[in-house]
């Protein structure tokens, strides 16, 4: 079991999985749903990005060529609710050649030599598989709002615009949000953002409208490889545990789950991932913590500071005896 920092208030997270929908006041509610994004089978087709934009009528947010591999979306934001990350690495993808280190190989130089016959001897795009294929590692991962068990954005929202749905997801009510922007720096994953043209904040709703109609979210529906899997969170967690075990047994280096653990700093994510490298390689924080975990301590310190100010000022006003 995860050891928690001592100054953490014993939250509902950590021990028993928290029934977020019930905690938010939904009495009879459907099971909590989420995404399990298995990045090991993502092919980087961006069908999820497109399906999300189409279904949710998310506006275009600039057409830029970034030079970041095939990623011109760059990150999640008010107008990108799915973002496919592309990481090019000079490492072999898993399997039989995992032990060969070719960190020093310049893949672009090697690629230029491909087909000239010069590449194969000593340190080409090595190692060459028995069937003649060359191996580089290209990581792709479709990122999304994590629909945290303990969601910083929701905690700090002063208007109640952000709320917990009966499905356990986190959604912005656009007719309530006044664009105060507090949720933006409160999210430990850098997900939610303000749409400049509109002043309000926007993010993934886990297709709240589709869920209500018994459909799966658009991205999961569109994903051709089932890299994005939608379903009840409990089931997804079981499936993910099984999948990561299989990959590890097969010798895929670096396969690990991210955001699946109800004992982590946000009480576990409603949308969690199977990654093949450290989270920060994909732009994810390695150990996110919901900011409001420390809020009781903050209020205490603020109270003591306020009393200090009052007492100090009072002392400054005392008249000296003459």
């Amino acid at each position: 079991m995860q050891e928690r920092p001592v100054d953490a208030p014993t939250p509902t997270a950590g021990r028993a999985p928290l029934d977020v929908a019930a905690a938010a006041g939904h009495r009879a509610h459907p099971p909590r749903v989420g995404f399990f994004t298995d990045t090991s089978i993502c092919i980087g087709c961006k069908a999820c990005e497109v399906a999300c934009k189409e279904w949710n009528a998310v506006p275009e947010d600039g057409l830029e060529l970034t030079g970041m591999s095939y990623d011109n979306t760059q990150g999640l934001g008010a107008d990108s609710w799915r973002h496919v990350a592309f990481v090019e690495q000079k490492k072999s993808s898993g399997g039989a050649w995992a032990t060969v280190d070719h960190r020093g190989v310049d893949v672009f130089a090697e690629a230029a030599r491909l087909g000239t016959g010069a590449a194969t001897e000593g340190g080409g795009i090595a190692p060459v598989a028995p069937d003649g294929r060359t191996e580089l590692r290209w990581l792709m991962s479709s990122d999304v709002c994590k629909h945290c068990t303990r969601a910083g954005c929701l905690d700090v929202c002063p208007t109640g615009a952000l709320f917990r749905t009966e499905f356990g997801t986190v959604v912005v009510q656009q007719d309530v949000c006044n664009g105060c922007g507090y949720c933006v720096p409160a999210c430990p994953y850098g997900v939610i953002d303000q749409r400049k043209s509109d002043g309000r904040v926007w993010k993934c709703t886990l297709c709240y409208d589709r869920l209500g109609a018994g459909l799966e979210p658009a991205c999961a529906k569109a994903c051709p490889t089932d890299s994005i899997q939608f379903g009840p969170l409990d089931e997804l967690r079981e499936r993910a545990a099984e999948r990561v075990r299989r990959l590890q047994d097969a010798g895929v280096p670096g396969a690990r789950l991210y955001g699946h653990d109800p004992a982590d700093g946000v009480g576990g994510d409603g949308a969690f991932f199977l990654l093949l490298d450290e989270p920060e390689v994909y732009g994810l924080p390695p150990d996110p913590v919901v900011t409001t975990r420390d809020l009781p301590a903050m209020w205490r310190h603020a109270a003591v500071a306020a009393v200090t100010l009052a007492a100090g000022m009072a002392a400054c006003c005392v008249r000296r005896k003459r």
Binding site: E3, T159, D261, A314, C317
Partner: protein, 311 residues
């Protein structure tokens, strides 16, 4: 344990979204809120000790400051017309919600105190409102620290223990500065002492905060934020020295010292604001401390949340 210095990132991009708040609005709000809260307290003390020449302008100053700060807040909203949605709910987990309610209580009291002072009408009601505003004033000054600390922004969050003291010290120096600027020299003793008290609290708490924060203290020292923090330190020290040495007799020196203290308090708020933004813009401040945390936990034998593949 030697802290790691290298880390992976996604094309060097930040992990967090930086605050969308405009510096002038929100750092300005932090400053004006502190000035208002501190002034209400100092005004009540001055009135109680019979120094009405100091109390009166401070009351007017407190109301002016809180009005401007509310204007800045509303101006910064993406949808200013929906300002009243702030009062739709009362949420203890949202410092902005609690702050909205606090200001809803405080601003009318500060207004009533100021109105009575200016018009000379209903002096008892004015005095009672001034006393009530003085009770809420310290909260107005210190809650803004919680407001910014309750985010994932490394430099703001990691300073959450000391930040309220920094802000309360800064509120005291600002109020003292206003007092020195506007009061007759014969009555400014509380303002002079408040300058010293505020300066000690502000500088001491800032130093403690920097030492305890680790890596996320770096943005407070470097770049524009670092310049602002140094300027704040110099102005606060100079203002306090001027007030203590010559503020009693020389009206001009007192006023200059007051202006320096106000500027010092403002520079501190803008510095802290800017440092937070810088810390959110660089993945380093997000990833390295979290890595350190994971490493420490692994050393202590606890599992690391599945971020390390089992061997």
């Amino acid at each position: 344990m030697v802290p790691p210095t290298e880390f992976a990132s996604y094309y060097g991009r930040p992990v967090l979204k930086k605050p969308v708040w405009r510096a002038l609005d929100i750092a300005g709000y932090l400053f004006l809120g502190g000035l208002a809260g501190g002034s209400s307290v100092l005004a009540a003390g001055a009135a109680a000790s019979g120094r009405h020449g100091l109390a009166r302008p401070l009351r007017v100053g407190a109301f002016t400051a809180i009005s401007l700060s509310l204007a800045a807040l509303v101006h910064d909203l993406g949808r200013p017309a929906r300002f009243l949605n702030m009062l739709r709910v009362m949420k203890p987990t949202s410092p902005m919600s609690m702050g909205s309610w606090l200001l809803t209580g405080y601003a009318p009291l500060a207004g009533a105190a100021a109105a009575s002072t200016v018009t000379g009408r209903l002096p008892r009601v004015g005095a009672a409102a001034g006393a009530a505003a003085a009770l809420l004033g310290p909260a107005v000054a210190s809650y803004t620290a919680v407001l910014i600390s309750d985010t994932a922004v490394p430099t703001w969050h990691d300073g959450h223990r000391e930040m309220p003291f920094v802000f309360c010290g800064s509120a005291a120096t600002a109020a003292a500065g206003l007092g020195l600027l506007v009061s007759p020299a014969g009555q400014n003793a509380p303002a002079r002492r408040a300058a010293a008290f505020g300066a000690v609290l502000e500088l001491g708490a800032t130093e403690l905060m920097r030492r305890r924060m680790g890596l996320s203290a770096e943005p407070l020292r470097t770049g524009r934020a670092g310049q602002l923090m140094r300027a704040s330190q110099i102005l606060t020290c100079a203002g306090t020295a001027g007030a203590l040495v010559a503020g009693r007799r020389a009206r001009g020196v007192a006023a200059a010292a007051g202006a320096a203290l106000l500027a010092g308090s403002a520079a501190l708020r803008f510095g802290v604001f800017q440092a937070g933004v810088s810390s959110a813009e660089d993945a380093k401040y997000t990833v390295l401390p979290q890595r350190e945390r994971l490493a420490a936990r692994a050393e202590a034998g606890a599992p690391t949340c599945g971020t390390k593949p089992p061997r």
